[in-house]
Every structure is written in C-alpha cells, then in structure tokens.
C-alpha cells in the first residue's frame, strides 16, 4: 500500500529531526515526520525516581519499549550479550517526540573552534581516525545562535575566556545561583580558574510563551512539569505542525529507506502504530534517528545497487561510534551544600578543554544535577561503606553535604568502535537489531584521569574533606551512551566519510543524515546544541537547493 507522495520524510523527531521538519515545512515543503515513540508529557512520568530516563531500575518512562528493541553488545574480548533498553550498555536515548530533549539535563554548549580541527591542532593520533571537520566553528556560529534563540537558552558565558566568538549574547539570564554555585565559584577563582554560569536549554524567565523553571529537584531524566525545559517537542515540532505542511506520525518504526534502480531514494517503508507495513513515497529522505539507529537504518536499507546498505560503499557507516568518557569526582563536606534548588548544575569551567599535558583534547567540568536519594545511596567508592549502620550514617551525614563535579571528556574516534546490524537477533518487527562492538582509545583514559584529578582539586579548594574520583571508563567495550555520535561522518572525501559537508549521503543525492551521527569528533561538551545547529545549517542548504519535485524518481 502506498501513501500520498510528499516532498520530505524526516525519520526521527529528536534534536536534529524536529528542527529539520520545521525548517522544511516553513519553507513550503510538504513533510512527514515519523517518530517511533509517542508524544509524551510530564504526566506520563511524575517524579518517579526509580523509573525515568536516568535511573531505569524499574524501567524507563519515555522509551523505547524494553522488550521490543534489544541490541547486541560485543565487548573487547568478543563476548556477545543481548541487552534491553534499561541496561547501561544499551546506550539508550529516549524514543518519544522530542527524543532526548524531552528529558535531558539540557546543557547548551557550543563547541570550541579547536573542536572542529582537532587533527590540525594536535596532529594524527595512532589508533584513531581523528580528523578535522569539513566545516568550521565560523560556519556553524549563526546556527548556534539560531538554536539558542529559537529553542531558548539561559546562562551567561561572558566570563568564559575560552569561549569561541559569538555575535549575540544568550537570550535569557542565568538562574539565580544555588548553594553549590556559591561554594564552588570562589574556590575556582582562588585556583586561578575561570568559572561561569552554565548555559542551559531552560527558561530562567518566561520565554517563547512558556514559563520559567520552578527549580524542583526532578530535572535530568524527567520531563518538565511546568514546561520550562526547552526541547524540540515544545518549540520547533509544534511550529512545524502549525505551518500546515508537516504531518507528525507517532509510533511509526521505519524499516528501510527505499531506493530505485538509479540510486535515488524514493520513500521509506515503516510499521505504523497498528503494526501495518506502510510505504511513504517522497522526494527526499532525512534520517535523524541518533547515531546508533541512523547507522542501523542505513545498514538495513539494502538493495541490488547498495548491497551493504546506503552510504556504505567504503564501509564507513556505523564506524567511529563515540560518546563521552565521563569522569569527575564527588566531594564530601562538613558544611551543608544542599539547598534543594534545582536543577542543581549551575557552574562550569572550560579551563581543561584543550592544551592539557600528555593527551589530546579534554572536557568541561561542571557541578552535577541534584542527586536523588537512591542515586546518592549508590555512590560507592573507596572508603564509602556499602551497607549497614555505617552506610546509613553516611547517608544521614553526607546527603546534604556533598557536591559532584562531572565532565565529558572528548573521545578519540576509533574505527573499530562501531554499529553493525546483527546477523541473528531481530526486533519486534523482525528488523535486524543494532550490534555495538569495539573499544575505546587509550587517550580517553588519560583524559578522564586528568579531569577527575582537576575535579578533586576544585572540590578540595571548596572545602571538601574527602573526595572520591569517578573511574567509570574502561577500554573494554564500545562507547556510545546518550551522547552517541560519529557513525555517519561528515567529510569531503567519499572514501573516508558518509555524508558531505551539507549532510548529504555521498552516493544518494536525495538522502540526508542530520543528527549527531555526522560529528567527526564530539567535543568535550554535551553535544545537543551542536546537533541543533547542524539541523538549522543543513536545512538551510537543503532549502536553498530545493528545486521542487520536477525530475525526481
């Protein structure tokens, strides 16, 4: 069965796809936005500390469905395991309208200029496919600005001497400081560091017709009950629908991108919310499913012309799976640090993003979101009691007297760290699932060690009597996580990349990948604002070159 032809199908209503759908619809293209999840609201997950997108011990709240979407993880020793979406190694990013942006922490980072040219800055790195981006910070700057103003960012980076140049300040002021901020700021300054107010995709004042943050403690992992957190589900996607040119279809799982004998994309085949297989004909296809599922969709779109999947002529689809090597430290204090003022994360440093001794890159450091009691109970680490009266005393004494500093260390892309489609395991719809394998680069471990030592230093200067470094990262498995990126690299050479510098797949002229997959490197920052900026940037070029339906297919 075939549906009425449209100009564009966008697969995935997350950070990238939501923006593309709106930009194309506003330009007059007819758009179908296909999202595998539902349109969720905060009332689908009301402050449940054991069942949300961050702590999934009783399940997740915004998908994907645990049983329907397994993945296969292969560790560095070749041991395979089938994991479900609530397992840590699954690398889950939510499946709902807005994608991760409904329930994220919402840090709104611009990458730095050097983050786009790591290879030129540091030279080649053995064991890594490290390269420069084909575009520069200056190319993306106007689109970062557009994301900040259209989606909405609060904060103040004027004190960040490391920031890249910007033309316009952020549209909203930072939230008033919480107690952690007041403790950490003077400490950083005493150390000669440069603390500033963390940029966040969160209303600090009424903006875009929605209210301000109510400063509750249920932020990262949850949808905002007063809709003050800014995602694509409450900004660009409603706008796209308002144009009258965009139809959002939820609970639709795309099976493959269809191509014709001339190598053009002609449509997508998907299972609709009733489980029926549909074909949606279209003039162009935009894949925005995040790094793991975007790669999986291209690899599952096989035909006589593309026997190894779309864009995969040179075996680059799914390669270079990256995320962030997270690290940091917890500090225990004798004074109270907890004031119950959410979201908690408030102050950041970019002193350690570049120019560190002995390794390439680095990452930001910022204080962490409010720890809910069960999360704090599982802190663990040397010297921390695991159970018994000592553990309970520890909880009573330190829950309100602790600060975590965290940082995402920029990862070195590794060719062997990859997404494939599994030859045996299939999902609920019978589609081969993603198979993640590979290992991290040793540079990631050097970076985490360095950054956690700096986090400890900052905490001690702030008065922590005990610090516990976070040693979470091991080399023995693939990267990924919510910050997944890199699997459809952007580049000028079709033999060493998947899409061109405008996110178009090299050998299919009407197929685009617009999400974190195209990142050559993933910065020492949460990647969402960069994904959004690329969404605006690539859409603008797409619209500019849109010549209508004539001559297609």
């Amino acid at each position: 069965m075939s549906l009425r032809r449209v100009n564009a199908v966008v697969v995935g209503g997350g950070a990238g796809g939501g923006i593309v759908a709106k930009e194309l619809a506003e330009a007059g293209l007819s758009v179908v936005l296909l999202e595998r999840g539902r349109w969720c609201t905060p009332y689908d997950d009301r402050k449940d500390d054991l069942r949300n997108q961050r702590t999934c011990v009783l399940g997740n709240s915004f998908g994907p469905d645990e049983k329907r979407n397994p993945r296969v993880i292969v560790d560095a020793n070749g041991r395979e395991e089938v994991v479900l979406s609530n397992h840590g190694a699954y690398s889950n990013n939510a499946a709902c309208v807005g994608g991760g942006t409904l329930s994220y922490g919402a840090m709104a980072w611009r990458f730095l200029e050097k983050d786009f040219r790591l290879r030129s800055t540091y030279g080649a790195v053995s064991g890594s496919t490290l390269d420069d981006w084909p575009i520069s910070y200056a190319d993306l700057e106007p689109y970062y600005e557009k994301a900040e103003w259209e989606i909405g960012v609060s904060g103040d980076d004027s004190n960040n001497i490391f920031r890249a140049p910007r033309r316009r300040p952020l549209p909203m002021p930072p939230l008033p400081p919480n107690r952690e901020y007041q403790i950490l700021k003077p400490a950083a300054e005493r150390l000669g560091l440069h603390p500033f107010d963390l940029p966040m995709l969160r209303n600090s004042v009424p903006y875009n017709g929605r209210g301000a943050c109510m400063r509750c403690r249920w932020c990262v992992g949850f949808a905002c009950e007063v809709d003050a957190k800014c995602g694509t589900q409450n900004t660009v996607i409603p706008k796209a629908i308002q144009t009258g040119n965009c139809e959002l279809r939820t609970e639709c799982f795309v099976k493959e991108v269809l191509t014709n004998a001339r190598g053009h994309a002609t449509g997508v085949a998907y299972f609709d919310s009733n489980g029926h297989l549909q074909e949606q004909p279209t003039d162009l296809v935009v894949v925005s499913c995040a790094a793991i599922e975007s790669a999986r969709l291209l690899l599952n779109s096989k035909s006589r012309l593309f026997p190894n999947g779309l864009g995969n002529r040179y075996d680059w689809v799914g390669r270079n799976l990256q995320g962030h090597a997270y690290t940091g430290a917890a500090g225990l204090f004798e004074e109270e640090t907890y004031d119950d003022l959410g979201p908690g994360a408030s102050i950041a440093l970019c002193d350690f993003n570049h120019g560190n001794p002995g390794f390439v890159g680095g990452g930001l450091l910022a204080n962490e979101f409010i720890r809910l009691p069960y999360q704090f109970a599982r802190l663990g680490g040397p010297g921390i009691p695991r159970w018994g009266a000592a553990h309970k005393d520890f909880m009573r004494r330190y829950y309100r007297r602790s600060i975590y500093i965290m940082g995402p260390v920029q990862e070195m892309p590794v060719f062997e760290s990859r997404v494939e489609v599994d030859p045996k395991i299939k999902d609920y719809w019978g589609i081969p699932v993603a198979r993640l394998s590979g290992h991290r680069h040793e540079n990631d471990l050097l970076g985490t060690k360095f950054l956690s030592s700096k986090a400890e230093l900052w905490l001690k200067e702030a008065g922590a009597t005990t610090t516990i470094p976070f040693n979470w990262i091991s080399r023995d498995g693939p990267s990924g996580g919510q910050h997944q990126a890199g699997t459809c690299r952007m580049g000028n050479d079709p033999q060493t990349s998947v899409v061109d510098k405008f996110c178009r797949v090299h050998d299919v002229d009407n197929l685009y990948v617009i999400d974190g997959s195209v990142h050559v490197t993933n910065g020492g920052f949460n990647p969402v604002l960069t994904i959004m900026a690329i969404g605006y940037y690539a859409s603008e070029n797409l619209v500019k070159n849109w010549k209508g339906t004539h001559g297609r297919a």
Partner: protein, 172 residues
Amino acid sequence: MAFAAAAASGMGVACGRNGTPWRFFSIDEAQTLAAISDQIIPSAQDPGASWAGVVNYIDRQLCGPFQDLQDAYRSGLAAVNQSSQLAYGKKFADVETTQQIELLQRFEQKRAPEAVWQGISSSEFFSMVIDHTMQGYYGDPRHGGNRDAVSWKMLGLPYPPIRGRQAAKTKA
C-alpha cells in the same frame, strides 16, 4: 551480567495466591529477607529497612520488572538459611545480630560455603539485595517501600516536593 543464569531459567512462578500474604515470597522467605535488609539498613534513630516496607517493595517488583530474578531470590534466600544452619544451627532470622553481620560479611567476601550456593553466588546475591534494599528504602513510596517517606524525612527532603512551586513564579 550477574544474573544471567537466573534469567535464563525462565520466568519462574506465577504471582498470586500461594498460601501467604505475599505475592511471591513464602512467609519464611519474607522473614529471612526482612532480617537481611535490616542489617543492610538497620533501625537507629530512624526506622530500618523492614519497617519501611523493603520486603514489600521487592515482593512487588518480583511480580513486575524483576520477574526474571524470581529464581535468584528463591535459591538465594534458601542458601542464606542453609549457610546460617551450617554456621550457627539456626535460621538466619533467628541468630544474633552480630552473627548475622558476620555471615553477611562472609557472603560479601565470597567466604560462604560454596556447596549451598548453586544458582547464584553469595556475593552476587548479597549485592543484588543491597541494591534492591536501597531502592526500597530510598526510592519513591509509590513502589511499596519508603513507608511514610521515612528516608526522605531522615535526609531532610521536603515531601511532597513542592519547593519549586513555592519558590518561583511559573506564569508565562
């Protein structure tokens, strides 16, 4: 993963009437688990784990999200009592507090008699019970534990959590 063996053996028993007030546990199993959880989070100036309903929390989840862990609990709790019988000649719930702690430390350090730990190792089982006890005690009361939000009161967290609505204007 730690519990692969237990998970592989299937879904376990159906939840429902089994001659006990619990969904999954027998009365004896519930008593054993209550005693273990009370060593993980003992009562002091605040109530301990069993008062807070940790057994109810775990019992409920074993008929829901933890269904795959039924066998691990059934065989693990039996092994706890067998270990206790071997060491002290009594069921775990009936021995002295210091002996209970001593036995749990042996589980933690894998010094328990191996022969009685078949389906799951003593340290894996104890780690699992620690984690679930923390969830039941420090997690949201809606899941069957943390009675009267006792742990949140202990930590000084306002409940229900209305701070934000009082502190900020939310009108656009």
